[in-house]
Symmetry: C2
Subunit: 341 residues, 2 copies
C-alpha cells in the first residue's frame, strides 16, 4: 500500500488540495464539518505528512550525528546507550558513524553530516586526528558540536571529559602506597589527549613520591588491545625483572597483561600488581579481579547529549551561546590485582 | 557563518535564481561563462544544496534505520560494525535506535522511522515482541525491511540468520561425545525464536543419543547476563550434583557460570564441562578458556545491509521483489572448558 497523498484525499472528497491541507492544520477558514471529514479520511487512509516537506518548513531535522572511533568497545557502547536514551526522551534521532580511528574518514563523515543537515554533532575524535579544520568548519555553520572522551583542547566547543591526569595519578599512587617501587606504564597512542594525560598523571605521581621515572618502562599500545597487554607483559617479565607494578591505560589491555602474567607463573598482585582504567564489567569477572579506575561511560553519553540539547535550544531561541567543559567524577575501584594497604 | 543560499549567489552576480540553480546543475541553456562564474562563487561561499530540498526531489533519503535490542553487547556491537562498514561504502547513513527489548518502544521506533522517511530498516526484534503489525505496516509502505538474529518466522521479509537449532545440536553433541551424561541447559527468554531454536537443538541431541530430557535441568536466563550464569551455576551445584555438563545460550552467561563454578571449587571441565554460544573474544581470555559456537556477528551485519541494499535498488528500478532468508555458517570452537575427545 502506497502512502496516500493530499491530492488523493482532495479528489475523494471533491474539494481542493489547499482545503485539505488547511483542514489538517486546523485553519480557521475551513468549516468544522469539512475538517472532521478530512481528518477522518486521512486517518482511515493512513495519511502521513511528507517528512522532507515538514523539514523544509521548520528547518530542523531533529536528527543529530554521532561519530565514534570504534563501535566494538565496551566503553563506547555505554556512551552510545547513554546518548540514545536521552535522545529518545527529547525526540531526537541519532545517525551513527564509525571513524575507525581514521582522520580522513572522520573528515568525510563531518562533511556528510553537514550535507545531511543534522542539527548538531557529538564526537569522540579518532586517534589519528591532529588537525581540526573539519570541526571548525562544522561549527562555523552555526551548529553545535560537543566533544566527549577524546577531545581537542584547541577547539572552542563544549566538552564532556573526565580528569584523566588526576585519575591516572590516583591509580599510580595506589600502586605506590601498596608497596610498588618499580612501576611500568602501558600507555595509549601518542596523539589522543586522554592517553597523554594518563601518562602525565603516572609520571607526576612517581615524581611526587620520589620514584625514578624510567622511560624504558613506558610501552605504547597502538591498538589498546588484549594482545598489546599480553605482548608487553611478556616483555616486562623477560627484560625488566625488577618491575613490581604496572599502571595500564585500559582494562582490555590490563586483562591481556594479567592473562599473560599468570600463564608465565607470575603471582598477581604479590610479584606484579596491576591497575587498569575504565572499570569494564569483565574486570570483576577475571582472576584475579582487576583494580581499576571507574570511567562513567553511560553518564558521559547522557551528559554529552544534554549539553548538545541545551545548545540546540539556545540557537533556536537565538540566545548567545557559550561553550562549557563538563568534568565527570572518576574513582578507584580496589580489587585483587593490587595488594591491600 | 550562515550557509549561503542560491538567492545570495544570484544577487551577487546580478542574475536570476533559476539561472544559478541551472548553472550548478550544468543545464545546457546556461552559457559556459556563467556556469564557471556561478560555480566558482558557490565554492568560495561554501554553498551547500539544502538537503531537504534535494530529498524532496529525489524522494530518497539515503538513510536507513537500525533497531537493536541492546547496544552494550559484544555480538550486537559486531553486527553494528558490519552494517556501518557496508553503509559507508554505499553512501548510506544509519539512524540507530535501541529498543531495550521492549515491544512498545520498538513499535514507536518503527513509526518514527516511517515518519522520518528512511529508505529501509534493519531490525533484530525485542525479546518481548510477539505481535508483528508494526513490522507489516512498515512493509506495506513499499519499503524494504530485513530482520537479523532475532527474527519472526511469520513475517514475509528477508532475514539473515544462523541455524540456531543445528548449532545448539552440535554444541550438545560435543558435550555428549566428551562423556557428559547429565546435561543442563541455561536458555534465553521464552519468546525469541533463536532462544527457542537453541533449546530445541539441545533437546534433539539428547534424544538422538538416548539421554533422558529432564525439564528441571533447563534454566531460563531472563537477562542473559553474567549474573544469570552465576546464579544458576550455584543452583546446579547445590541441587543437581549429578550434572556433568551445561550448554549455555550465550558466552556472557557461560563466563558467569564458569566464574561461579571455579569459586565453588568445581573442576571445569572434569567435574562439569561448559559450552557457550557466540564466541565473544573474552571466551578465549578466561580460565579455563570457553568452548563455544562461533556466531558471525560482523558478517551478519554485512549481509543484512547487502540484502537491504539489493532490495532498495530493486524498488528504485520498480523490479519485482522477492524475499530471501540467508543462513550464515556457524562452527564449534573447542577450548578448555570441555574435555578432549
Amino acid at each position: 500500500m502506497k502512502p496516500v497523498t493530499l491530492k488523493e484525499i482532495a479528489e475523494k472528497l471533491d474539494i481542493s488540495i489547499t482545503t485539505v491541507s488547511k483542514a489538517l492544520k486546523d485553519y480557521k477558514d475551513v468549516s468544522p464539518k469539512t475538517k472532521a471529514l478530512v481528518k477522518e479520511l486521512a486517518t482511515t487512509l493512513n495519511y502521513r505528512p511528507n517528512a522532507f516537506a515538514v523539514n523544509l518548513r521548520t528547518k530542523e531535522s531533529k536528527t543529530i550525528g554521532l561519530i565514534i572511533p570504534e563501535v566494538v568497545h565496551h566503553f563506547f557502547s555505554s556512551v552510545i546507550k547513554g546518548i540514545l536514551n536521552q535522545a529518545e526522551k527529547k525526540g531526537y534521532l541519532v545517525i551513527i558513524l564509525q571513524s575507525n580511528e581514521s582522520y580522513e574518514l572522520e573528515k568525510k563523515q563531518i562533511e556528510l553530516l553537514l550535507n545531511k543537515n543534522v542539527d548538531g554533532v557529538l564526537i569522540s575524535l579518532a586517534n589519528e586526528t591532529a588537525d581540526f579544520k573539519h570541526i571548525n568548519k562544522f561549527l562555523s555553520n552555526d551548529k553545535p558540536l560537543v566533544m566527549f572522551d577524546k577531545i581537542a583542547k584547541l577547539v572552542n566547543c563544549s566538552k564532556v571529559i573526565i580528569d584523566d591526569r588526576k585519575a591516572a595519578y590516583t591509580a599510580t599512587k595506589h600502586l605506590i602506597e601498596t608497596g610498588c617501587k618499580n612501576i611500568a606504564h602501558f600507555r595509549g597512542p601518542l596523539l589522543p589527549q586522554n592517553s597523554i594525560d594518563r601518562f602525565l598523571g603516572y609520571k607526576k605521581a612517581l615524581e611526587d613520591y620520589n620514584l625514578k621515572y624510567d622511560p624504558s618502562l613506558v610501552f605504547i599500545c597502538e591498538n589498546t588491545s588484549f594482545e598489546d597487554g599480553s605482548k608487553f607483559a611478556a616483555e616486562i617479565v623477560k627484560n625488566h625483572p625488577n618491575v613490581d607494578g604496572i599502571f595500564i591505560n585500559t582494562d582490555m589491555v590490563a586483562i591481556g597483561a594479567i592473562t599473560q602474567l599468570r600463564s608465565l607463573g607470575i603471582d598477581v598482585p604479590n610479584q606484579i600488581s596491576v591497575v587498569g582504567f575504565s572499570n569494564w564489567f569483565m574486570s570483576s569477572a577475571i582472576t584475579p579481579s582487576l583494580t581499576t579506575i571507574n570511567q562513567p561511560g553511560y553518564e558521559m553519553g547522557k551528559e554529552s547529549f544534554k549539553r548538545l540539547y541545551k545548545e540546540l535550544n539556545a540557537i533556536k531561541k537565538k540566545k548567545p551561546l557559550s561553550t562549557k567543559t563538563i568534568t565527570l567524577e572518576t574513582s578507584l575501584v580496589k580489587r585483587n590485582s593490587t595488594k591491600n594497604n
